[in-house]
């Protein structure tokens, strides 16, 4: 399954679809990290608005994506986790640990823009 990855200046935007298998998620992780390297991106937004289930594998993959991209010197922000998905994740005991999250695409972009200006 191909996930659309858009380039917006220094930021890459990846939009995840609803029914991703484990293999799709792994494929995505690889593709996204490769694109970050190739395009010398400074930030990545992963939009999960369409994902209706975030189980242990999907959460782990998102964390791994963020950690790999951080090692490249870029920032990742996950946007659009639905309220019921967030509720299920907490019940299941899943966290995204130190991965940044934002409400939607707009807030995600604002977060990254701020980060580029004031890296901590």
């Amino acid at each position: 399954m191909e996930v659309p990855i858009l380039k917006q200046g220094e930021v890459l935007i990846a939009t995840f679809q609803a029914a991703l298998s484990d293999a799709d998620l792994e494929h995505l992780r690889r593709g996204l990290v490769q694109q970050v390297v190739k395009l010398r991106s400074r930030g990545v937004i992963v939009d999960v608005t369409a994902m209706d289930v975030m189980d242990s594998f999907a959460s782990r993959t998102l964390r791994e994506i963020a950690h790999m991209i951080r090692l490249r010197g870029a920032e990742t922000v996950i946007v659009g986790i639905q309220p019921e998905v967030a509720f299920a994740m907490v019940q299941l005991g899943l966290t995204l640990e130190d991965v940044a999250t934002a409400l939607d695409l707009e807030e995600g972009l604002a977060y990254l823009t701020q980060k580029f200006k004031n890296p901590d």
Partner: protein, 134 residues
Amino acid sequence: MRAGEIRVAINSDQDIVTARQRGRALATELGFSTGDATLIATAISELARNIVSYARKGEISLKMVHGSSRQGVLIIASDSGPGIRDIRQAMRDGFSTSGSLGLGLPGVRRLMDEFEITSEPGQGTIVTVKKWKQ
């Protein structure tokens, strides 16, 4: 309303997606809220993933159940895999033998209303869970 049982063979990661989609569709059809349908779909995803990780193949069965005054959904995850030697240990948060997150079973118990597990080393594992409609 659909009667009977939906059975999904679990042999690969793609079947995990199929099982949770069927589960969500059934929960929605039975009138569960979107929130509860998400909990049910997430629980099915974890149960199916346990089958793929530990037993390689098995089955998820889904059906409607009637309580004294309410309806619910019954999910049975069964496999003929290696089984679980120590169920109490497997039910503790953070325990895993496959290098996964080890949240599977205790997490699923928190997502659902009723939870039962039987396992025989060398014979397989059956996890039975129910969620009642609010």
